[in-house]
């Protein structure tokens, strides 16, 4: 296909390379490491670009497709605290069970998203769901940490369980597939998740040859992760499976074209321009906040959860 179907909205002329939002870097998956014994992840963020470059997205751990053998004891990560941000778990393959110190819990199944606002603090644990663990199978997930502005870091923890059925679907032209909106808005289609700062999070589910146009404010930090298949970005850049595309902060549309059936995670958000003090599972604004978080955790102020 060609890219001349896209018009520059200002001039009504065919788009040229300079009209596209520039690609800053295409990043191959870093060497995977284990989180507990249940998650084999490529740490795209913050390892490759730092903690502020993709603000409000602080962490992106990508568990690329992993054939987990059947087991008797579910794999996972034991009890650990979080404070100061949100964790967003996007399940592509396999199922995860989770529990927390506020009494919440559930199963994140294929296609579902769990949006946990840790805020003032929770203890939680995440394991492969029991039946999945017994049968084994392909496991593929993304976990994002989304920062909270200072004024909301100590707000009350909460959950949003966003099942696949609840996600807003925006059909793409020419039977190109669907833009699944988790948070934010895609061309008038609003996603179900509520966020503390402006965040757009979509799954572009593209048929072979399918196209999607994206446009965000130039200062929003924006990236793509190719979950399945392969794509061409802005008419020229071929991006294979499991690769991360960091977009430059400049105006312009992004054109996605699926060179085979593809799933692409699209993330874009308004940066939170505040200092970051991070230590392990705590992301705050100052070292004093971090010391307080450690002290509160040690003294049981995050509650209690059996391992």
């Amino acid at each position: 296909m060609t890219t001349d179907t896209l018009k520059n909205t200002a001039t009504n002329e065919p788009m040229t390379a300079t009209d596209y939002r520039p690609i800053e870097r295409v990043i191959a998956p870093p060497r995977a490491h284990m989180v507990g014994d249940g998650f084999r992840v490529h740490g795209f963020l913050p390892a490759t670009v730092g903690m502020q470059r993709m603000s409000p997205f602080l962490v992106m751990d990508y568990n690329s497709k992993w054939d987990v053998p059947a087991g008797t004891t579910p794999r996972g990560v034991g009890v650990h605290p979080h404070r100061g941000f949100e964790t967003v778990t996007i399940a592509y393959k396999g199922r995860v069970a989770h529990h927390d110190s506020s009494g919440g819990g559930g199963v994140i199944g294929e296609g579902d998203v769990q949006w946990m606002t840790a805020a003032s603090g929770v203890l939680h644990k995440e394991y492969h769901e029991e039946e999945f663990s017994k049968s084994g199978g392909i496991f593929q997930m993304v976990q994002l940490w989304v920062n909270l502005p200072a004024k909301d870091k100590m707000s009350t923890p909460k959950y949003q369980a966003i099942t696949h059925a609840r996600m807003a679907q925006h059909a793409l032209p020419d039977n190109g597939g669907s833009m699944e909106v988790i948070a934010g808005n895609y061309q008038g289609t609003q996603g179900p998740a509520t966020t503390f700062t402006p965040v757009h999070l979509y799954n572009a589910r593209l048929n072979k040859g399918g196209k999607a146009e994206l446009e965000f404010p130039a200062h929003y930090n924006t990236a793509l992760l190719v979950i399945e298949g392969s794509i061409r970005v802005n008419g020229t850049e071929q991006v294979p499976t499991d690769h991360f595309v960091l977009m430059g902060n400049a105006p312009g549309k992004i054109l996605l074209e699926a060179t085979e059936q593809a799933v692409v995670l699209v993330l874009s958000g308004e940066p939170i321009n505040e200092p970051i003090a991070a230590y392990g599972p705590f992301v705050m604004n100052t070292e004093a906040d971090i010391r307080q978080a450690i002290e509160d955790f040690n003294q049981g102020k995050f509650g209690y959860l059996e391992d």
């Binding site: 506020s102 603090g121 392990g280 450690i294 003294q299 049981g300 995050f302």
Partner: protein, 192 residues
């Protein structure tokens, strides 16, 4: 030698005797029965000093996070087979300090001798406090002492290792932490 009052040139003359090394999680720095040639000063990471009982159960004598020393003093100073085992429980960067370094600086510097004496008394105090705690303190008192001494280790070390260090069962440690949460968790009722 921050805080030691040692002049730069005195330290520099002995500095060539220091070595640095990187260890991976799981690496053993000192095996029981061997002679401890170096004290280990942790720049980054975490070491565990432990002893094995006659049934093969491990008991943790000390954790050495950043800024701490770990060694078997009996083995290093008296040249005896080590009773302790030292291993890395995180990837660690360590400065290895042999007896020759201590000897060189001790003979060159009165200030170092005095500094080293203070360090030794500090170490003896630590050991005495620990013996007193293990003999005479409740589990919750041991836990509170632990988090004052090692504020971030609860985030870095599995519960069963902390229980081993405290000389209590993992179940007792869970009970202590659950009771703390019942008192201090303001959000919702603490949940089992």
């Amino acid at each position: 030698m921050q805080g030691s009052g040692i002049h730069g040139d005195e330290f520099d003359r002995a500095a060539h005797l220091l070595r640095t090394a990187q260890f991976n999680k799981g690496d053993v720095l000192l095996e029981t029965g061997s002679v401890c040639k170096d004290a280990f000063h942790v720049t980054k990471g975490l070491l565990r000093v432990a002893t094995l009982d006659s049934d093969g159960n491990e008991h943790i004598v000390q954790f050495a996070p950043e800024g701490w020393f770990a060694s078997d003093r009996g083995s290093m100073y008296f040249n005896e087979p080590s009773k302790l085992r030292i291993d890395a429980i995180e990837d660690s960067a360590v400065v290895l300090i042999g007896q020759d370094f201590f000897d060189a600086l001790s003979s060159a510097s009165e200030k170092f001798r005095s500094y080293n004496t203070t360090l030794l008394h500090n170490h003896i105090r630590h050991i005495q406090d620990r013996v007193a705690l293990l003999l005479g303190a409740r589990a919750d008192e041991r836990y509170q002492t632990f988090i004052r001494m090692y504020p971030d280790l609860l985030l870095r070390v599995p519960q069963k290792m902390i229980a081993s260090y405290l000389g209590i069962t993992p179940e007792s440690l869970s009970r202590v932490r659950r009771e703390l949460a019942e008192r201090n968790f303001k959000g919702r009722a603490a949940k089992k």
